[in-house]
C-alpha cells in the first residue's frame, strides 16, 4: 500500500464483510503533537477474544478460499514503522473498533493520500451501509453522515451519476479546505 487512505479503504471493507450497517471513521492529524490517528468503529458481527489475539497474524483470516489475510498485518507494520501502532477491541455480536496511530513527521509514514476517493468508493458501492466520517487537521474539521444525505435524497441512490458527481466534488472541496493555511 502506498497511501494510508488505501489502508483505510481496506480495513473499512472488513467492517462491511462483518455485516456492519454503520461504519464510523475518525481521522485526526495533529501536527503540533506530531501524530496522525484514525479509528474505525463498526456495528458488525464482532470477533471472539481468540480471533482478536490472532488477527494480526497474516495466516489468520475468516475467508475460506485461502489461508492468508494481509489487511491488518500490513496496517500494523505501516503504523509500527513510524513509532505508532494499532489497537483492536471487539465484542461478538456488537462490533469492532480498530485504532491506528502514526508518527506524523516520521520519514517512513506513508502520505495520507486521496481520502475523497476512498470515501466516494465506499459510499457509492454499499447502498445498505451508512458511513460517518470526520476528518480533522489541527483545528480545521469537517464531517459527513450518509444518513443525513439519504434523507435529502429520498429514494434516489448514491449510485446515480449526478449524485456521484456531486459527492465527488463535495469530498474534494472539503478535503482541500482542511489544508488551507491561514
Amino acid at each position: 500500500m502506498k497511501e494510508l487512505s488505501l489502508h483505510i479503504l481496506d480495513i473499512m471493507q472488513n467492517s462491511i464483510v462483518a455485516g456492519a450497517t454503520l461504519v464510523e471513521l475518525d481521522l485526526a492529524e495533529d501536527r503540533e503533537e506530531d501524530v496522525l490517528t484514525f479509528s474505525i468503529t463498526d456495528n458488525g458481527c464482532g470477533m471472539s477474544t481468540e480471533m482478536v489475539e490472532t488477527v494480526v497474524n497474516p495466516f489468520t483470516t475468516s475467508r475460506t478460499t485461502r489461508k492468508v489475510g494481509l489487511g491488518i498485518p500490513l496496517l500494523k507494520a505501516a503504523a509500527e514503522q513510524t513509532g505508532g501502532g494499532i489497537t483492536l477491541s471487539s465484542k461478538l455480536g456488537e462490533g469492532t473498533v480498530i485504532t491506528a496511530s502514526f508518527g506524523y513527521s516520521h520519514i517512513d509514514r506513508q502520505p495520507l493520500g486521496n481520502m475523497a476517493e476512498t470515501m466516494l468508493g465506499l459510499i457509492t458501492s454499499y447502498e445498505s451501509v451508512d458511513f460517518v466520517y470526520r476528518h480533522r487537521v489541527d483545528t480545521e474539521e469537517y464531517a459527513l453522515d450518509t444518513r443525513e444525505m439519504r434523507q435529502m435524497l429520498g429514494e434516489v441512490s448514491f449510485a446515480e451519476p449526478q449524485v456521484m458527481l456531486w459527492l465527488s466534488e463535495f469530498l474534494k472541496e472539503n478535503e482541500a479546505a482542511l489544508y488551507l493555511v491561514k
Partner: protein, 121 residues
C-alpha cells in the same frame, strides 16, 4: 462550496428521469477491491469508471466492488457484465485504459480484446 441542500435539487431532477428506466437489467461493472486489488491500484480505476460513466450520464450502468477475484497477480481486475452476454474480465487495468473500455464496450458493445484476461494469459 457544495452543500447538502444541493441534494434536494438533484433528487427532484433525477426522479423525473428515473421513472423512465426502472428495473431494466443494466450493465454491471465489478471492481476487485480486496487487499490485493487496492494495493495494485484498483481504487483509481474504480474512480475513473465512476467519473467516466457520470460524465457521459450513462443510465443503467452500476459500478460495484467485490472481494478478491482470485488472480492477485493480474490485479486491478474488472468484470463487466452486460445482460444476455458473456461476462468479460479485464486485467492489469489503470485509469488511462478506462475511457476506452467505457466507450467501446459499454457504449458500443464491443469488448476491448487487448485488455482482457484472454490477451494477458
Amino acid at each position: 462550496m457544495k452543500t447538502l441542500a444541493d441534494l434536494e435539487a438533484i433528487r427532484k431532477k433525477t426522479l423525473e428521469q428515473v421513472t423512465l428506466r426502472k428495473d431494466e437489467g443494466g450493465v454491471r461493472v465489478v471492481v476487485g477491491m480486496a487487499t490485493c486489488g487496492i494495493a495494485a491500484g484498483a481504487r483509481p480505476v474504480m474512480n475513473a469508471f465512476m467519473e467516466e460513466i457520470a460524465k457521459r450520464n450513462l443510465e443503467n450502468v452500476t459500478v460495484t466492488q467485490t472481494g478478491c477475484i482470485g488472480m492477485c497477480r493480474l490485479e486491478p481486475i474488472v468484470e463487466i457484465i452486460v445482460p444476455d452476454k458473456e461476462k468479460v474480465t479485464y486485467v492489469k487495468l489503470n485509469p488511462d485504459k478506462v475511457a476506452k473500455i467505457v466507450n467501446e464496450h459499454i457504449v458500443n458493445g464491443n469488448p476491448v480484446a487487448e485488455y482482457t484476461i484472454g490477451a494477458a494469459e
